[in-house]
């Protein structure tokens, strides 16, 4: 499907999209710095464009209180629908309720606003962690010495951490020798320093679980510097063109990452909202299934960038969720 | 007559340097005790002990029968011991207006209450300002005032309320006769009100005018305690120097090759143009009241301010400096007044302070040759007779007068065409003043020297020629042979006669 076609469909789109130009939606963001969020935004933009609706972006730059205000601002702007991207349950709950009271449809991505009127779009961090760890077990058997990169207090990381805990219980053979991690920026650089010390102290580590690509990048640098890229395997979550490059490097220790395509998640978020506005029910939670990406995959099918990835892995390119037949899809 | 303050066996050492040995004397109520002593004798240290800045090592101080050992300056002020310190920079708060500066103690001791009542403060401040004759509006920030006015502010503040003991450490060092007189009459008032006054100065005229008794310090000890009237000043001076003063008779040089020439020079808006010539090897003293334009002239010659109109010539070549650096390059040096803000580099030791302007002379390919530097600075320190422990000591450890000598020595290290010294004798003791004078004359060579002072006797002491400035223009001049002092004085005052005032 392409924009050209979507144009021809526009006629028989349900209200209010029969004249989409008058439909106004807002994206209220909590996090914005970094590739993932940039890609997510581009997804939102392309899908909004495909629908032909007017999109407003309110960016709270990691100020949860301000984010709540911005919902109110969106209300004041008289938007028809709001996408809440990340944030804190406690600070968003009331704001979202106010929006609903004002008759505005709301979709939440990666933040649980505890409100059944609000569908949850999720990239399912638990699944991400699960896929990566299953791969780790496939490669290294059920018992290995691991290093774990984790910074508590960040919602997605906390969710991925839960899965890690489960796995440690299920496979007592997994020995967590060291836990570290920091969000000092540049994140990769700071974590490289820590990982380097950890490797110095625990040369026996064979698996590094770094469920966030910035962490993984840091660990990889440390592994290379320690000249241990033969002895260590890195498993992570999330992916970007830069990550792909890193994974493709000659005998790179970064062997697998589980990821959803943030752009796709963005598109899905908009489509879900569109369905709500059209009076359809997308369901309580719309889950974008993650894909496992291994180094071998990248090498075998010569994948160099997110574009290649999308081209070679349809599952990654497009999630077949929230796609009623009237829904125009972005050009690809 | 009752004793207000009594000192017994005061001792103080800074590290290995024993500054005060067993100091003991008394201050009587309604009585001005002058404390004399050469630079570095220990006067200011004593003052700082009395005002709670330093704590004494041993000894007792008794204030009105009760032992007095102030922990902090606040403490001292609260007990009625008020001090005007030597450095002006320790006396005023530049960013605040005059009013607040005048009432700083008053505010500090809470006299003003919680809220500031601007009107009431203004009135109170105005009274003080009038007392010492500060003309500027009370809203002007102090950093906009000339040195003298700042000094007056500091003094007036001390007068803010009736102290029991008033300590004045070289209050006149940057005042000229006019302001000094107002100060003296104020001190007379205090004397009548029974305040005990400790007065420190190197100016004989002050001492002559004020002293009821003289305590003389030498190398941190009391070398004389004179009460008999009339006070034997010579005896005091001998006690202070440990010998009698060698009085130099200066032979007036009559050189004719002009070095610096000003034509139709206008120093300040609306001032009359004037011509002026300084010859090679000549020492010219420029005298004038505060605000008469001496520094204005200095600033022009040193490239800090441009000449409003007129031309400058140096060695028959046109000379128009645009920055101190350029002036120095052209062979014109200025030793500015107010060493505290204009000369002393507090973080540096003596050597580094001395070599600052001519570092390139002590470096090869901008690489410093420290040994060479050290040697030269020690020469200079000794030449100009600085009292110091070690040339690596921080300059802050020097006494006021010795700091002054260092900032003069800085400009004697290299030969130059024209040397300008603005108030070079600020806080320098009489003997040292003579020594510097002689040194300036003997080392003159082909150098022309301008000495800017506001005291005539300072001028007569060293100059070949005396030029009087008033109203930012030249008011007259005299060769320094039996000069007619009264005439000079009247020339200086001419500004006031005209009724207008510059600055």
């Amino acid at each position: 499907a392409g924009l050209s076609i979507s144009g021809s469909w526009a006629a028989d789109m349900p209200a209010p999209f029969d004249n989409a130009a008058d439909v106004k939606i807002a994206l209220v963001r909590y996090l914005s710095t970094g590739d993932f969020f940039q890609a997510y935004l581009s997804g939102v933009e392309t899908q909004a464009q495909a629908l032909g609706v007017d999109l407003r972006i309110l960016d709270s730059r990691q100020d949860a209180a301000l984010q709540a205000d911005m919902v109110d601002q969106a209300i004041a702007l008289g938007v028809d629908g709001i996408i809440v991207q990340h944030g804190l349950t406690e600070s968003m709950q009331d704001a979202v309720q106010r929006a609903l009271d004002a008759g505005i449809k709301v979709v939440a991505f990666d933040v649980n606003v505890e409100n059944e009127a609000v569908p949850q779009v999720e990239q399912s961090d638990r699944d991400l962690a699960r896929l990566a760890l299953e791969q780790a077990i496939k490669d290294n058997g059920e018992s290995f010495t691991a290093g774990y990169v984790y910074v508590p207090g960040i919602a997605p990381l906390d969710r991925r951490d839960e899965t890690w805990k489960e796995f440690k219980e299920r496979y007592p053979g997994i020995k967590e020798k060291a836990q570290f991690g920091t969000l000092d920026n540049p994140i990769a650089n700071a974590n490289a320093n820590q990982a380097r010390s950890v490797l110095q102290a625990n040369p026996d580590i064979t698996v590094m679980f770094a469920p966030y690509d910035e962490f993984a990048k840091g660990v990889k640098i440390a592994v290379d510097e320690a000249g241990m890229s033969q002895d260590i395997k890195i498993y992570s979550a999330d992916v970007s063109t830069a990550d792909i490059a890193a994974m493709r490097e000659p005998d790179s220790a970064w062997v697998a990452t589980a990821a959803t395509n943030p752009a796709v998640v963005g598109e899905v978020s908009v489509r879900t909202l569109a369905m709500l506005l059209a009076g359809e029910d997308p369901g309580a939670s719309v889950i974008v299934p993650p894909t496992l990406i291994t180094r071998d995959m990248l090498m075998d099918s010569d994948i160099k960038s997110m574009q290649d990835l999308a081209a070679k892995l349809p599952a990654f390119a497009h999630a077949d969720v929230a796609t009623p037949d009237w829904m125009p899809l972005p050009a690809r | 007559m009752s004793t207000t303050l009594q000192l017994k066996g005061i001792r103080k050492a800074f590290g290995s340097n024993q500054v005060l040995h067993d100091i003991g004397f008394e201050l009587q109520a309604g009585n001005v005790t002058v404390l004399m002593g050469a630079n570095g004798a220990g006067k200011s240290t004593l003052v700082r002990i009395l005002s709670g800045v330093h704590k004494r090592d041993t000894g007792d101080i008794i204030l009105l029968g009760r032992t007095f050992n102030p922990k902090t300056p606040m403490d001292a002020v609260a007990q009625g011991v008020v001090t005007v310190h030597q450095g002006i920079n320790d006396g005023v708060v530049p960013d605040l207006d005059i009013a607040s500066n005048l009432l700083l103690e008053y505010l500090a001791t809470g006299g003003s209450g919680f809220w500031i009542r601007q009107g009431a403060l203004k009135k109170k401040a105005q009274a003080l300002a009038d007392l010492v004759g500060i003309s500027s509006s009370l809203d002007t920030p102090v950093h906009a005032l000339s040195l003298a006015d700042r000094q007056l502010v500091a003094i007036a503040r001390a007068m803010a309320y009736e102290p029991r003991v008033m300590i004045l450490d070289e209050p006149t060092s940057s005042l000229s006769a006019a302001e000094a007189d107002t100060l003296f009459s104020l001190i007379d008032k205090l004397r009548e009100h029974g305040v005990a006054i400790l007065y420190i100065s190197h100016r004989m005229s002050d001492i002559r005018r004020l002293a009821d008794r003289i305590v003389v310090m030498r190398d941190g000890q009391i070398s004389a305690n004179l009460v008999e009237q009339p006070l034997p000043l010579n005896e005091a001076v001998n006690a202070m120097l440990g010998r009698s003063m060698d009085n130099t008779t200066l032979t007036i040089s009559q050189t004719t090759t002009p070095s610096l020439r000003l034509s139709n020079a206008v120093l300040a808006q609306g001032a009359h143009p004037f011509d002026m010539t300084v010859h090679e090897g000549e020492v010219v003293a420029i005298v004038g009241l505060v605000g008469s334009g001496k520094s204005a002239l200095a600033n022009v010659l040193f490239g800090i301010n441009p000449l409003i109109s007129g031309t400058l010539q140096l060695a028959d070549k046109p000379y128009c400096p645009t920055s101190p650096a350029k002036a120095i390059a052209a062979g014109v040096f200025l030793c500015p007044r107010d060493r505290g803000s204009n000369a002393v580099v507090p973080d540096f030791n003596l050597t580094h302070n001395i070599t600052l302007p001519f570092l390139h002379k002590y470096s090869r390919f901008s690489w410093l040759r420290t040994r060479h530097e050290e040697k030269r600075s020690q020469q200079l320190l000794d030449e100009i007779g600085v009292v110091y422990q070690n040339s690596n000591d921080n300059i802050g450890t020097l006494s006021g007068g010795n700091q002054q000598k260092v900032s003069v020595a800085r400009w004697l290290s290299e030969s130059c065409r024209l040397l300008i010294l603005d108030e070079p004798f600020q806080g320098v003791d009489i003997q040292a003043r003579r020594d510097i004078g002689t040194h300036l004359r003997n080392a003159a060579g082909t150098r022309a020297t301008l000495v800017l002072v506001s005291e005539i006797d300072e001028a007569t002491e060293i100059a070949d020629r005396i030029i009087v400035i008033a109203e930012h223009t030249l008011a007259g001049e005299q060769i320094n042979q039996e000069p007619d002092l009264d005439l000079l004085l009247s020339m200086m005052a001419s500004a006031n006669n005209l009724g207008t005032t510059a600055a």
Binding site: S32, D72, G153 | V77, S100, L104, A108, W115
Partner: protein, 332 residues
């Protein structure tokens, strides 16, 4: 001529401020109007409060780098007191204020007694607090139902009274218009303004900032005032933290990492207001407002977050260049 320059110096910045408001009101729909105005105030309330604290330390010639971390500490502390210790709002507030005051005392003590340079002392304090505030929860955010290090589950909740600090809005012409935080900001601004400009203590603090030695020789209790300044700044920072906590309804680790720089910016911009060329409460408030208006306006114009930083910086530099160069020119 001089008169013109004078006017420019005094009112240049404020004119710029008004200019911005006018520009945005025309360019960005939804910018003008009482609600938007309130948003702006609310978005700068916390920064503003902290900035007023820094101003006090700047006045005595010091500088407080620890405010940001004090704020986040009080954010965490208040949450901990209510959620883990299950105490009342009052207890939380009192403890936070005490914490702020204590930090201020220690800072002051280090600076006046131990003679540690202010930047140094407060920087150390900053690192110390950043670490300290994470230790009790091992770096996790604090929310009802969280499991503590010792395995127990936290049962307490944010008391409604406390949450009201962040969420209640007073009626003003329009109902539910004025949020508590804005009221707090205004009150504190007025108090600090009066304190610095119309009390003898304020005057003496300025004296200390201008010439500490002379002030102490004049019998000013320099040390006492310096310590006071740091205590004020500490307490105000803790107030800011509490408001943040009340807005979030959760002890969120990630929040408030921009607080320090933004409030310092506000306080420093204040130098340029009314040509004061020195720290002053009114200027600080204007500075905070300035940043708020800028960001709000840019958001309303859909500018991405990084252009916001850029414009913020650019306008800041230009505005200051203007004011200071002029006032310098005039002083000569």
């Amino acid at each position: 001529m001089n008169k013109v320059i004078n006017l420019a110096i005094r009112y240049g910045f404020l004119t710029l401020l008004v200019g911005l408001v006018v520009f945005f009101s025309i360019a960005a729909d939804g910018f003008a109007g009482p609600h938007s105005a309130v948003f702006i105030f609310q978005s700068v309330a916390i920064t503003g409060i902290l900035a007023l604290g820094v101003t006090c330390t700047l006045v005595v010639g010091g500088f407080d780098l620890s405010i940001g971390s004090v704020a986040t500490s009080s954010l965490m502390l208040s949450a901990y007191v209510m959620v883990v210790w299950e105490q009342s709002a009052l207890v939380a507030i009192v403890l936070c204020l005490l914490m702020g005051a204590l930090v201020g005392l220690v800072n002051g003590w280090l600076i006046v007694r131990m003679r540690v340079p202010d930047l140094l002392a407060t920087l150390g304090m900053m690192f110390l607090l950043i670490g300290l505030q994470r230790i009790p929860t091992q770096g996790r955010s604090i929310a009802t139902g969280m499991t503590l290090p010792d395995g127990t589950v936290a049962q307490g909740t944010f008391s409604p009274a406390f949450l009201a600090l962040g969420r209640h809005r007073f009626d003003l012409f329009i109902e539910r218009l004025l949020p508590v935080s804005v009221v707090v900001l205004l009150v504190i601004a007025v108090l600090v303004f009066l304190f610095l400009n119309y009390t003898r203590h304020g005057r003496l603090m300025y004296a200390i900032g201008s010439n500490e030695r002379a002030s102490s020789l004049a019998g000013v209790a320099v040390n006492k005032y310096k310590v006071t300044a740091y205590v004020i700044s500490g307490v105000l920072a803790s107030v800011g933290g509490m408001l943040m906590s009340a807005r979030l309804g959760r002890g969120d680790i990630a929040s408030g990492n921009n607080l320090l720089l933004d409030s310092v910016a506000a306080a420093l911009i204040g130098y340029a207001v009314l040509g004061a060329a020195r720290p002053n409460a009114f200027g600080t408030a204007m500075g905070a407002l300035f940043v708020g208006i800028l960001l709000q306006g840019l958001t309303m114009m859909n500018a991405p977050y990084y252009t916001q930083d850029f414009v913020k910086g650019a306008v800041l530099v230009l505005a200051l260049m203007f004011t200071f160069s002029l006032s310098a020119r005039q002083r000569r």
